[in-house]
Each structure stands twice: as structure tokens, then as C-alpha cells.
């Protein structure tokens, strides 16, 4: 197993380096087709390799030309250059000023998608949920944080994912805030980005519990799904896709257990 993973990691990093050195990629990096992955973490530093890993996995697994940002965004105004932003949150949740909440709310209403990734562990998770409710209310007045049902397109945008994996598995489900018929804010409580961090030798830095490497693979798949949801919205809910999957692959949408 370890040999297979090592071999795959070599192929993966080799492909990433080759892709980044190719003229097409050089052109694509500067053109309109490239999808940038940006993150914002004024208080919680994010290991840069997490985003690079996610971008590389997307590059290898899908047709999307993904590119991680070299550095994080330093202000909310910079959000307007990126339709998708990851924001890892720790125990000290931010308190937005009124003008900051207005800027962020306008960005979301314009079409931006925000992924909030809780990294604080189990200790303060309940306070985090309450604080997030307040944060969302400040950004999008009237909006509510809701559990994403298992039948949601977010779980099948590219991969079939049945739970919300990350470095941990504290909460089974994804949560989200809807606006304009789409999920404008997606919330995961399982420290998803940490599962992608690598060291200088290319090895994963953090252990994933309790599911180990399979859970890490599931986390990557969830990351791919989130990006493709931001790019394709409810494309996979189109009837022609559902009819095919139900008839040819004998799919049945998961029955929500109401948790």
C-alpha cells in the first residue's frame, strides 16, 4: 500500500511540475480559463501546500485548469478578484466590522462562493456553530445556516461523496447558506484543508483520523466537488444526468436521515 501511494505521489508531483512547465499551462495561467484557488486567513495561517495539493489534484483528476494562489488574500476587497475563497476558522472567530460585512455580503450576492473550514477541533465546536450563525447573519441578513441534505448536488458534483470528510470526522454533514438558488457559503467542521498539507518532501504532514488515508482521499474528493460546484452549480441536477445515472448505474439518491 505504502509503495503504491509513493508511486502515485511521484506521478502526481511529476505531472504537476510538467504541467506547470508546459507552454500551455504558462499561457493558461495568464488567460481566462484558469480557475484560481484563493484563501483568506488573517488569524489562522494556512499551510500553502494545502491549496497547491488541492489545485494539483483538480488538475490531474478533472479537465479544470486550476491554480493555487501564491499567497493569501490580505483584505476583503481582494475577494472581488476571485469567485471562490477558502477561509479556515479557528477558535477565535472573527468579528466583522459593519463595512466589512457589507463588502463580504455584496461579494456573495455578486456570485462569490465562500468555504468556511473549521480547524478548532472538538473543544469549541458548539460555540463555533453559534458564532457562525451570527457571522452569517451579519454578512447576509435573513440567511440561515442549514444542513446540506445527503441528496444535495454538492455530494455528487464530480464524485459520489456520502459524508463531509477532513483531517477529522467530528461532524458527518456539510452545512451551507443558500442565496439566489445556490449555496453561497459552504461550511465544514472537519479541518478539510489540513488533510491536504504536505511537507517539503511531498509527504502528507498531518494524520487523518479516524479513517486514515481513505478518509484523506475522501476529503480530496470533497474538495474537488466543492470546486466543481462553484464552477457548475446545479449542473449535475439536470434531468438528463439524473435519468442516465438512475437508469444505467442504478443510482438511488440517499434518503436523508433527518439529522
Amino acid at each position: 500500500m505504502g509503495k503504491c501511494l509513493f508511486l502515485r505521489s511521484c506521478i502526481l508531483w511529476g505531472a504537476v511540475v510538467a504541467a506547470m512547465l508546459s507552454p500551455a499551462a504558462a499561457t493558461a495561467q495568464q488567460g481566462g480559463t484558469v480557475v484560481s484557488l484563493a484563501w483568506y486567513s488573517p488569524a489562522q495561517p494556512v499551510h500553502a501546500s494545502a491549496m497547491s495539493t488541492l489545485a494539483s489534484e483538480i488538475l490531474v483528476r478533472t479537465s479544470v485548469e486550476a491554480l493555487a494562489m501564491e499567497k493569501s488574500l490580505s483584505s476583503l476587497e481582494q475577494f472581488y478578484s476571485y469567485p471562490l475563497v477558502f477561509w479556515p476558522l479557528a477558535s477565535d472567530l472573527p468579528t466583522l466590522k459593519r463595512e466589512e460585512a457589507v463588502v463580504l455580503g455584496q461579494w456573495l450576492r455578486s456570485g462569490g462562493t465562500l468555504v468556511l473550514d473549521w480547524t478548532g477541533g472538538a473543544a469549541h465546536i458548539e460555540q463555533a456553530k453559534l458564532a457562525l450563525d451570527g457571522l452569517v447573519s451579519a454578512i447576509l441578513p435573513g440567511a440561515q445556516v442549514e444542513r446540506v441534505p445527503k441528496s444535495s448536488v454538492l455530494y455528487r458534483t464530480f464524485y459520489r461523496v456520502t459524508y463531509a470528510p477532513g483531517r477529522t470526522r467530528l461532524v458527518e454533514d456539510l452545512f451551507a447558506v443558500s442565496y439566489g438558488g445556490r449555496y453561497a457559503i459552504i461550511i465544514t467542521y472537519n479541518d478539510m484543508l489540513a488533510a491536504f498539507e504536505r511537507n517539503s518532501e511531498g509527504q502528507y504532514r498531518r494524520d487523518v483520523v479516524p479513517g486514515g488515508e481513505q478518509q484523506r482521499e475522501d476529503a480530496i474528493r470533497l474538495g474537488v466537488n466543492i470546486l466543481l460546484y462553484a464552477l457548475c452549480l446545479d449542473y449535475k441536477d439536470d434531468r438528463i444526468h439524473m435519468d442516465y445515472l438512475k437508469s444505467k448505474r442504478n443510482w438511488r439518491l440517499p434518503v436523508d436521515d433527518g439529522q
Binding site: 493558461a28 483528476r61 485548469e65 456570485g111 455528487r156 457548475c232 452549480l233
Partner: protein
Amino acid sequence: MRFGDSELVFGVEPVSLAGLALLCVVLLALGYFGVSYVRAAGWGRGLLLSGLRALVLTTLALLILQPGLVSLERVLWTLPESFTKKVVHPVDPERLLGLVPPLAYSQPPQWDASGDIYLESVIVPPMAFIKSSTKVLVDVVNDGATVDAQVLVSPVEDGEAVASDVQRVVLQPGRQQLAVSVTPTRLGVSAWRVAVEPQGGDLVPENNMRVFSLTTTRDSLRVLHVAGRPSWDVRFMRQFLTSLPGADLVSFFLMVEAEDFAPHGRDELSLIPFPIDDIFLDELGNFDLVVLQNFPLGTYFLVKEKHARQLAEFVRSGGALLVVGGDQAFRAGLLEATAVAEVLPVDLEASDALGDYLAGSFEVIWSGAGRWHPATVSLFNEGETPDGAELPALAALNPLGSVREGAEVLAKVKVAVAGADAVEYPLVVVGGAGEGRVGLVATDSLWRWAFPPKPDSQSMLVYRGFMSGIVDWLSWAPGSQEFEVAATTSPALVGAETAVQVCGRGVTSNRLKGKKVLVKAKWIDALGSQSPMALERAGEFLGSCAVVVLPPVGAGAWSVEARLESGEGSGGGQGSRAIVAVEPRHKSFAQRLAEAFRPVLERPMVPLLINWSAEFNLPGATLEMDKPRLDQLWRHPALFAMLALLVALEWGLRRKWGYL
């Protein structure tokens, strides 16, 4: 005399004013003679002689004026056997002056008329939907007995009628409304012919047919959106397409590439195979608009020549195609090597471009055509840029080839070249191909307008307006035409000139004064027996409208296309269109009969010369009526005898009494 569809009214003119004047002269002369006779012969003899002289003069005056006596003459004409009885009402007798000489008017004549069937009017809905049945109401008048008939509806096109819906009906006597079905197969305005053919023929077949125009649109817009890979440009395009009212959207995005490393099995994916044959062979005709976005039509391994050929034929047959750029689009995807290249408004092979896909920062420059074209005119009001928005620069460009004849470049960009002058490349190009339309957007960065980098930017409104305008124009939406074209009188009549008015829509109307309009008109015969006639006319806009006059023609329809003479904003070789129906002057049988009676009856009394004969070219049964006739006095010998007697009596009395 007046007439309507079911009545004939006769009247007789009173005596003329000249006659009244002559009568006054006679009375004055009598007065003079009377005074002379009374002075000469005294009151008794003077009055007697005056009376006799008055009688003589009056008789002479009557003979000169010839007021005649009105009597009724029973006349018979033959008419078609199927005619039924109809009552004709007389003129109101109080309208006539009861002057001397005595006058009269006719008794209500009873006449057996009709047998004619004619179309009184056609009621057309303001809009019809393509390939959907639409009801058109036809008012039919049957002046005869109950008869079986056929109602035929057919489009008026070059040559003969293309197809005809036939409905069998039973026409009762009187007026009735029929509902006929029309199923248009083309968008825009079209001319149609409806005709009623009664079994056994009709007396006046010319009034059994009418031409009308029908405006056809879509009840829903069926869109196929195919993207080469997911991107932000694809995301915001999909978001726009799903927001269109009445749009049915089917999307296919290529989410994996064949060379991808796949650490997963197929069952772990929610992806489905790309149904290339279903889309491009079997189901393509069910779509109205195809959007190819960054799709490598020339290099994708599943796309064969037959698929590209079918897509090209889809456009030529009336479909709409929008091709959006990206790193796999146009020449970057070898589109020039496919059959679709033949229907594009640019020649992709004729290019001296710096590459197939350029990255950089490109500012949009709107062309003159872009400010007038129906697809983009709504973006501009009085300013030089789309109102109220500073548009973000574009990050990429697909250099296109040379623009083909008839195509319009709505927007362009300038590309800086090291050591040389900047080069302009078209960014948005539109054109027509066969019955369809094609639009090209040579970038994958338009999403920056939909998701602007500045919080207070209004560029998302420009994005939405631009996309809506392009989609409306490509799909022949009725409101996307540049001009409103209509005849000043509707319908136009056979044998009369037709005046066609061309008026600007919306914001264009304020900028038309002094400009010239070119109208191309084609007359098509309703019966398909004569060759079409084409001509061109020019006019000048006085204010927001211009009028051109078309020559008199026969029954049928004018197909009119209007554009600015300079060619601006004409949209890919196709101007604003309208159909003007040309109909024969409809006369009912009663109108024809009344016109035939008129020269017989309406004659002034001074002089009195009545034509006693009347010719009616009517086969068949009988028309019976009491025709008023004026009997001239000098046809009565008794009047002459009386005159002679009076003259002799007066002469005799004057001789006896010694006053000669």
C-alpha cells in the same frame, strides 16, 4: 341612393333650382299680364284673361322643364337560381321635397338576390408560436342558401402555395365565424392566404380569398450548452441561461480529459458519457440555440465529421449558434477544419494572427455597427460607452480570421505588438448563414463583466444586457428587430400604391433624422400564378420614421426588408422584416347590384333623359322590382290637347272682346 350589404335604397331627386327660377319668372310675367288685362278690360274680363294666359304659360313651362310624372315600372332581370329572397328598404319619404311638379318615390322593391359568399374579415392573433397550431378567425358571409364549402389556408411564398390545411364546413345563410388552424414553421413574419371554395362555384370568386400576415415567435427557448471544460466563464454563462424566462436548458460539460490520471473507478463518479450522437445527430433539431463554449470541435476525439456537418446544417436550416472562446476554441480547437467553419461569419483560415489564444489585458472597443445593431443597441443611450459601466479588461482573446461579407463586427480589441503598430482583432462578430444566425465571442473572460473586480461596478448589468441582446437576436425574438415596418393602410389594396412606414425602435429613434433607409420589397402572388417581383426603394428619415411608396400590384403580399442605407446595424445581412398583405377591393353582390342601378336612377330632372334599358350580366334566376320611372309629359297627348284648347280659348275671348 345608398346601399349596404343587404339593402338597396332608391330615391328620386326633386325638381331643380333652375326649374324653380323659371317658375318664378312665369309668375312675374303673369302678374304683369294680369295688371295689363285688368286695366284694359276691367276686373271680371281681366282676371279671366289673366287666368287663361297663366294656364297657357304654365303648360308651356311644364313642357320645357319636363318634370315628368313618376310611376312604377315592373321590371324583371334574370339572376342565378340559388338566390334567395331579400327585402330592400325604401328611402325615408320625409327626406324628399314634395315640390311642384309632383314627385314620388318608389315602393319598396322586392328582389331576389344573392348566392354570393365572401370573406368579410380575418382576425389574426398578435403572436403565434412556431410549430404550434394557432387559431385564426375568419368572418364569412353567405348571401345564398346553405352550401358545403372548403376552407383552405396556405403560406404565401415564392411560386405555388407550399402546403395547405383544408377544412370542410357547411355555410349557413348569413354571417358566421370560422376558426381555422395555422401552424407556422418559420420564425418572424410570414404571409398566409385563406380562401373559401363553395361546392358548385360562386358568383363572385374574387372576394373569397384574403391575405394576412402572422408574426411567429417561440413559446420557449430550447438551449443546448456544451462546454469544453468547467470555468468561471462557463459558470456565469450557465447562470445567465438558467435565468432566461421560458428557457429550457440542456448542458454538457467535459469534466475529464482522456489523459487524466484517475485514482478512481467509474462507479465512484457521477459523470455520464458524452452523448455525442444523441446531441449532434438525433436531437439537434429540437434545439433553438446551441452554445459552444471553449469546445474543441476540431480536436475532441468523439466528434466526427458527420457531427460537425449536422451542426452546420442545423444553422443553415434556421438554428442559432453562439460560439464562445477559450484556450480550446476556434483555431485553438481546429474549428477551421470542420464543416461548421463554413457557416461562421469569419474565415478562420485567413488569419495573420499572433497565435490561436492570447493572454493579456484587452480593453473592449465598440464599433459603429455595435452601437446600432439590435443585439447591442440597448447597451448604449447617449454616451460612447455602455451606459453607467466601466468594463473590466479582458484577460484572453482568440484571434479570428477575416470577417466575411454581410457579417458585422460589434466589438473589437487592440493587441499591442512589440516594435509595430497595435493590431485590431474582432471580439464580437455576428452574421447570417442560410436561414440561421451565428454569433462569435472571441474570449473566455466575459465573466469578469458578470463578476466585476470592483464592489460598485455596474458591469454585471452590461453582461446581462449584452447576453440577452445576443441571444434575442440569434433566436429571432420579435423585439430584436431594429425597425418597425408596417404599411400605412392595412390591408393594402390591389391596384393602389402601398405606402410603407419604417420607424426606429427605442433608443435608435432619436438618432435617425436625416439618415437614409433602404427598403427591399418582393411581391409574391397569392395564387402563385405569377412570378415574384423584386425592387428597391430609398427613403429619408424625417424624425424617427421614413416612408417609401411601392407600386400598385395584384393580390398577394409584399415581403419588405428595411435597413439603413449605410448598412449599419443591419445584423448579418438581414434587415428588419414585415409582410404587407395586398387584397382585392371586396364588393358584395348587393354592392355590385347597387352600382349597376346607380346610372339608371340617379338622373337630374333638367334635362330629363332617362335611359330605359339596363343591362345586368347576371345568369340564372329572376330579380323583380318596381323601378321608378319618370314619364315625360310630352308623351301624354292630352296635355298638348289641353294646351291647344287653352290657347284657342284665350285667343277667342280676346278677339270677341276686342283686345287682340
